[in-house]
């Protein structure tokens, strides 16, 4: 009796159509910065990618060429340092048999990882590395989902120009690859727009006291400041500008203002803006996948915190990879790369399309940054989209109220 039951069960399983059973698995490899200075943004990015994976698997996997593929991740801690990235990515490819890769967080680590992914011919999706140099060295398998560094502050410069075309502009920024790339482009754009650039200096990333620098900005009688770098320095710069009553009319700082914790700066945060890859108020009509609102709600329900643009970038990266595999109908890297080269879609994250010429292959060319600014709403600080105007959820705050 038992044997017949067993046979019946086995037969039943073998015969049942595999509608919700995956035939195969795709392994995706990546490193994340679980320790070290890049920890916060890297983990945020990873959560986005992870949420995508869980959704895909719950729906039965990625459908390609008549089969369904479940997604499995293998990831290691890169400690926010380039030293082990190459070893870890080689391990992911050779030992863990990863078929696709996600890049680490940050431009520097991405550049190091890209050497390995290109050597082995594996498609690598980049959701957290904005610097452009990596794409100019002749690659075939890199695909960037986020807006590159050169456009981070274009919106902010345009917004300033619309209010004060003759503003005196100060560039004070962190001496790291990402910030330098952003400001290098912003500098050219500022000169073209006819702004008067009165200060243009970088500071060591480990700078703790910006007092003298703020005095320099005050002495130069600057109206607007563009710069900063990452968390601690952008936040400290904002605070000291306020404490020293520099009374700048416009402040656009990198990275830190995009984080909810920036509000802990209190009145020093008011009016500070940043370029953001994605904000909740922005409304794109997606061709597939969730809307921005749906994404944000799902994220909040899963992780109990608000989604920021790092998580959105991660999730978008997963969506784009999935779309390409589905379009290619295969998991062969060459076919998927070809599909990624042809990708030109709008999702909750915005319009996504990569460059295909050898000179800048993989660089994102369609996605635009929005300008997010901390404004006061019913007596409380909140971050709203203020530029471009047709995507804005609140009016531009200019000049920043003086005190």
């Amino acid at each position: 009796m038992k044997l017949i039951a067993l046979l019946a069960a086995v037969t039943a399983i073998a015969v049942t159509p595999a509608a919700f059973a995956a035939d195969d698995t795709i392994i995706i490899g990546m490193t994340q910065s679980q320790t070290g200075s890049l920890n916060v943004d890297s983990v945020a990015q990873y959560r986005g990618i992870e949420m995508w994976r869980d959704e895909v698997n719950a729906a039965g996997g990625i459908a390609a060429g008549g089969k369904h593929y479940k997604v499995k991740f293998v990831s290691y801690d890169d400690q926010s340092q380039g030293g082990r990235v190459q070893q870890l990515y080689t391990r992911l490819i050779v030992q863990d048999k990863a078929e696709f890769l996600f890049a680490p967080y940050s431009s520097g680590l991405t550049a190091t990882a890209a050497v390995i992914s290109e050597q082995y011919g594996k498609v690598m999706i980049i959701t957290g590395g904005a610097e452009e140099k990596t794409y100019t060295l002749g690659n075939k398998y890199l695909f960037q989902v986020i807006t590159p560094a050169g456009h981070y502050l274009s919106g902010a410069l345009e917004a300033l120009h619309s209010k004060n075309p003759k503003a005196r502009v100060a560039f004070v920024y962190s001496d790291d690859p990402f910030s330098k790339a952003v400001i290098s482009a912003a500098r050219d754009q500022a000169k073209e727009a006819g702004f008067d650039v009165v200060i243009d200096e970088s500071y060591a990333p480990s700078t703790t006291d910006f007092g003298p620098i703020v005095n320099k900005i005050i002495s130069a009688r600057a109206d607007a400041l563009f710069g900063g770098g990452h968390y601690p320095d952008s936040a400290t710069l904002a605070r000291q500008i306020y404490d020293q009553k520099a009374n700048l009319k416009w402040e656009s700082l990198l990275v830190a203002p995009g984080d909810a914790k920036f509000a802990t700066l209190g009145p020093a945060a008011l009016g500070v803006s940043t370029g953001s890859q994605w904000e909740l108020p922005v409304k794109f009509t997606p061709q597939f996948g969730p809307t921005g609102k749906e994404f944000a709600e799902k994220f909040k329900a899963t992780y109990h915190i608000d989604a920021d643009y790092h998580s959105a970038s991660g999730y978008a990266g997963g969506m784009i990879l999935q779309h390409a595999i589905e379009q290619a109908g295969s998991v062969d890297p060459e076919k998927v790369a070809a599909a990624l080269n042809k990708t030109d879609v709008t999702i909750f994250f915005g319009h996504v399309k990569c460059a295909t010429e050898p000179g800048d292959h993989g660089m994102q060319v369609a996605h635009q940054m929005v300008v997010a600014q901390w404004v006061e709403e019913n007596g409380r600080l909140s971050r709203q989209v203020v530029w471009p105007r047709d995507a804005a959820s609140a009016p531009l705050l200019y000049p920043i109220p003086s005190h």
């Binding site: 082990r84 080689t90 391990r91 030992q95 550049a111 050597q119 060295l137 001496d175 060591a204």
Partner: protein, 320 residues
């Protein structure tokens, strides 16, 4: 030297490194051994200053980083071939080390240690401002760099074997120094520098020589390592964590011995690699590394070799 057992143990160690990944072209093993060879090279050369002469060089990574920068730079804009660029890098770094060394080697103990940190941080800050070296963005090497060696895949093997050769040279060098009069002088400096000077050991010269010599091979290793990475930036090249790990390795293995740093480097690298890739521990790998180090420093300061010598004193003659 050839008659000593230690020599053959070193040779065996090198042979294992050379042969193991070659069997079946095991790329994954090769990659994890690359870091191990770098650690052994750094630790062994550092041992000359630290283990013999007792001078703690906290910033020894500066040799590695500068070697990397010189090599990558010379291969980039001026377009020199790898062997020439490497040799030039090694010579340049040794020369700089001699100059710096003459300055800071009059300091003792903790002062010297601090000065080496200052040198490393100062050089890093300088390179960040130095445009020919790419400033803070770093230098990139296009993939075409690997063509003379036969393409990226082959080049990685060549680089690996060269790194093993440099590791081997470091081990033999360290051993030769220990057996020589120079080495004896260094050891006497480590015991009691003032007494050594009074007894006629040319301490200033020996210290400067040791500092300069201990810079050459790490510079070569740096050149190869960053050539392989095709990318160098200041925060990777001058990472103080690396040289601190080298010190930890020497402590783990047993300072002043030959086999100690080699063994310590291998053990350390395996441990870290395992901790990083293990699901349970990766969050706490710093805590575990720290606790382990503390226990060793408190209870087994002689490291692994020290413990070994304690139990079997006769091994001191055999495993040096």
């Amino acid at each position: 030297m050839l008659r000593r057992l230690s020599f053959w143990i070193i040779t065996l160690f090198i042979a294992v490194f050379a042969i193991a990944p070659a069997i079946g072209g095991n790329v994954e093993l090769r990659e994890s051994l690359v870091l191990a060879t770098v650690y052994v090279t750094l630790a062994t050369n550092l041992n000359i200053m630290l283990g013999y002469a007792g001078y703690i060089n906290f910033g020894s990574i500066v040799f590695f980083g500068l070697g990397g920068y010189f090599c990558v730079y010379l291969m980039g804009a001026p377009g020199w071939p790898l062997p020439v660029a490497l040799f030039a890098a090694g010579t340049a770094v040794s020369a700089l080390a001699l100059v710096f060394g003459l300055g800071i080697l009059r300091l003792r103990g903790a002062y010297f240690a601090l000065a080496t940190i200052g040198v490393n941080e100062g050089v890093q800050a300088f390179v960040q401002n130095f445009d020919p070296f790419g400033g803070s963005s770093g230098l990139y090497l296009p993939v075409t760099m690997f063509k003379p060696l036969g393409g990226p895949m082959e080049a990685l093997w060549v680089v690996y074997f060269l790194l093993v050769a440099i590791m081997g040279a470091s081990l033999y060098l360290s051993y030769a120094v220990k057996l020589s009069k120079f080495g004896l002088g260094l050891l006497s400096i480590g015991q009691n520098e003032d007494a050594a000077r009074i007894l006629g050991v040319p301490t200033r010269r020996y210290k400067a020589l040791a500092y300069s010599v201990s810079a050459f091979l790490p510079a070569l290793a740096g050149g190869l390592y960053f050539f392989k990475s095709a990318f160098i930036q200041p925060s990777d090249a001058f990472d103080l964590t690396f040289s601190t790990e080298a010190i930890v390795i020497i402590m783990l293995g047993g300072q002043g011995t030959i086999i100690g740093p080699a063994l310590g480097a291998y053990l350390y690298e395996e441990l870290r690699g395992w901790l990083l890739t293990s699901d349970t521990f990766s969050h706490f790998q710093l805590v575990i590394a720290g606790t382990l180090l503390l226990l060793i420093v408190l209870f087994v300061p002689g490291g692994f070799m020290g413990w070994l010598y304690g139990r079997w004193p006769r091994l001191r003659k055999v495993f040096e």
